[in-house]
Symmetry: D3
Subunit: 233 residues, 6 copies
């Protein structure tokens, strides 16, 4: 259940019977021809759909993450690493303060990985609580489903092209882009990253049939739901 | 236009002809019987509607703000003052880095006021840019429209009860709550604030006719649009 | 009583019978023809005079606040927003540590407003204490007294021209300066602020008769004293 | 000349012919029977008297420094080490921004020593500026003058008992307190420090004749003046 | 070449002909029966051996990293995530300031991963420099060599048991420990982590023949050397 | 005993019978013709030799300290003052967390002095613990031994030229360098510091007989050992 569909009395009531909560974290950054909001949209949506039948509340996605790499692609907007650490810590503090004890961080963006370090440290400081850091898109079952359709997948490729991340009126290129050399990409500065990637896709096709995408989505939702269900010990 | 409805090529194209942008900032906190997301919902929505005919892009609302006062109402979730300062600064840095020069911060929450200080300092450090801090809900024309219907308005009262902030299945109390004593309220700690406010409404009726609410909304949208249009000097 | 007129044994003795304390906060910044220290001088002095008959101790004014706007008027000297948040938090921590439980922050500068956010957060973290944030110069009774003499008042105008803020040998301009457009002023960067304001006065006369000033002062002292007296619940 | 006795036009005029400035930094902390403000009072006053004949402006003393050691003596109020570093950095930034290039930091408190590290780092970042860190009370000539009267001097002893730091109605103890063991004192926590020091004096007499104190003061003023005069290379 | 075997004149001379440098980062934390310094020892040593024939200087290993997870195993000592971010940033700033432009961060500890985020951000801010983040122990060739001997390897298992990380007089247990469940381990707080791991080994044998270890080491050195050699574009 | 020669079980066992620990802190910076690591090498080594017969564990030296002054001598690498404060605080927190209650900080670098302020503040926050800040090289007995051989000693002079800090193949200059003017040196920016010092030695001979150096070393070790032994009250 979305927190924005609840008032405080309902959260209080929920906390009398359960202490699980979902906090999605995303990013606003270039995704080639797709929406700048891909990571925020997907992390938020997968959380809501996963939590729905369980009645576990889902907080609004923290839309801004860490994305210095894509700074030269206009529209990309993020936070500095230290700022992000403080944001994650404050949000965990707040959730703990109101009584949540099992937090699923549903992450939609690889660059947010430092949040996992913060969460580990926070748990060490709050031994009565648990935080599970869940990269929904590359959790084992979901990424296996992706690979089952096409082994050439990557950032901003078909793998992120869902009906809810593609844009009206934008036509996807045909064909398959050669895979970027990740070792090289990791060395480049933002200007070079842009020059190297051209359109932002790291490699692979730009679109695949929607039945495949919906199957991937179903797996992502199911796997995220399993993470909410536990076990938590 | 929502940034999530754009890709980076479209932002780049926009920046060739305009340098205005809207960044809404909200809060997730108790609003009595209404949604915990009132401030985030309204700041985001008023921004999108205001910017729409102008074609100015609107970033996703930063949902988490500063709200220590309501900490004892479950569901309320915010950031510490210093964290928030860093968030606002990083976002302004990022907008500036990609070429925006006129930023409208559309604020939906009184507790975020320190963002105005950060913005003033940021402008002093970036003299080629402008930031207008716009408290949409108490801008002169909008608050006058509110007062024209009923002088007893406040946090979590009818004034924030729009079709898009009320919750399904939640029935509003009848009658008018006496106004809280703000001087006293400002002195209380979170536990006392909760005990004093009981349901969270600061005073006034809980609901008023939708035609009044839509008139207020229209004024809020129009006034926010005027803020985007300028003048910016 | 001024803390600088006390030794630690006297503070200890005081804390056995009372837990109120006054901490004035000011700014060092352009005030047109008046002293650069106006805000620090007035916040400190009004605190001392208000507290005197009550025997409540008054700490030295924290002279440096947040004032990026006036950076291009030489002499102006302040702290960054985050630094200021830490200063306010540390001072409140220290007062609490020694046993004070009711703190009156007497603020003399609009730009310090973020201190009120910090204080609210600090109180939420220290539920056994109270902090009242008191903008002495625009508290209801004091600002009404100002307006009773002349409705055209502003930063660096006659309203701040007391015998103890004017400078020897400096002759005030005659006449009344037209009011600055605040919406426009808030958009300007420091260089533009200076160009727009010329001498620093925001509008209104530069001086008014001392009997009026002393009447305003008496009201400011009385209203600040009332804030010390309480009620504190 | 005190900055509070100047307006911005006068600072601007001064900066056309000179770029030296004095910033005193003090502390508010126990000084035995003497004023809690000893370090702030003395740093401020020695600066003003030293600078007076040279026409160099003196900023208001930053009254709050670093003083964790005396936390258990009520009245003591300070900042954390990191906060203080930010305060010193911000003030140096501000002075540099308005055109000062030679800054004398007149320090009145041993616990503020980390400000010297910050100043050294700041100078490394601002190679067009100079900062001289001047511990006025133990500069070579001044401390020699102190020792010429009585070798048993220390914190809160006669050495800090000037007509402007002693308190009305407070009678000083007779006799000479044995010197504290500094190695031991440095190991103690605040509670133990208080138990060990009892009245706060580190050792030595509590008062000496005023002609001696005035001679010390004259030396302190002269040596601080010499530090303002230079050489600065 | 180790920086501690150089003086500044030699570094200056080196910088005239090359701009590569190696900075190893480690951790001090439980490694079962092995040295608490395993990660620092290995990162430092592999760097020195790799760089030796290339003449590229190697800075002393930063021994303290991020390791909240092992807090309940005595001896473990680390830094907070934000502190670590500042350490990495400062060191990169310093290397850049003296003229290095290609930095190999040789990391010996998984918990330091947030340093990679900091490095990416730093590169975005310093587009004239490159930083390669190299987890030496799980770089492709090295981890393949490990797996070629025994697929059951993990933290504190035989895989980290080199002649220079084992301790005199400590006898390793016989047999193979069952692999820990990583998903579960990631959920536990430090007390639970200790209870679950018992001796600290995550699973696998405690020791294997030294010829295997030396073969792994040779691969690790060779692969790290290749990372220093480049390509760097 | 070096922590890197222990595993966690051994630290746990030690903590059952003692709560003393040694943490050396150094610097990597120019030392004229000597190793860039002089301060780290000496602080680490003196700690290990001093603690050895007492069986007190010695942590790895924190090699990077605060050294902005020498920034223009290539090879010098340090941390910012605030970063360093956080490092020292985190390490003290960690030592306290695992049960150490008496910490000897063995400092090898004058520029790290702000660590003493942090330690004092930390002790005030942790009244059950003690921290002794020990500048090993200018502790009374050691510096007296230095002066007994030659009164002209300084940074990077013979006084720091031990068999374990001098470099293979580097020939020391003959003769005695005139002493630098410290007051002047403290005013200079990094470029000027380098121009003024030329080779980095602050004054005095470059080398003296090894029997003298070994006598100094023996005194340093003995005096550091005494600091470990106590008394700690």
């Amino acid at each position: 259940m979305r927190i924005v569909d609840m008032n405080w009395m309902q959260v209080e009531e929920y906390l009398r019977r359960d202490d699980r909560v979902v906090l999605p974290i995303g990013s606003v950054e270039q995704h080639g021809y797709l929406s700048l909001g891909v990571d925020a949209i997907l992390a938020g949506r997968v959380s809501v759909e996963a939590a729905e039948p369980l009645g576990v509340p889902v907080y609004p996605v923290q839309p801004y993450g860490v994305t210095p790499h894509f700074r030269e692609f206009p529209g990309t907007l993020g936070l500095r690493v230290e700022t992000y650490a403080h944001v994650v810590r404050d949000l965990l503090d707040g959730l703990h303060g109101m009584g949540f004890r099992r937090v699923l961080l549903v992450n939609g963006h690889g660059g947010n990985q430092s949040a996992a370090s913060v969460a580990a440290e926070w748990v060490a400081d709050h031994p009565d609580a648990r935080v599970r850091f869940h990269n929904w898109w590359n959790a084992p079952r979901t990424i296996a489903k992706v690979a089952s359709f096409d082994k050439a997948y990557s950032h901003a490729s078909w793998m992120e092209n869902f009906p809810w991340t593609r844009l009206e009126g934008i036509v996807m290129p045909e064909g398959e882009k050669p895979m970027a050399d990740m070792l090289r990409l990791n060395l480049l500065n933002p200007r070079e990253v842009r020059a190297y990637l051209v359109d932002g896709n790291y490699g692979g096709r730009y679109q695949r049939p929607d039945e495949e995408m919906l199957a991937i989505w179903a797996e992502g939702v199911a796997e995220t739901r399993a993470a909410i269900e536990g076990p938590w010990e």
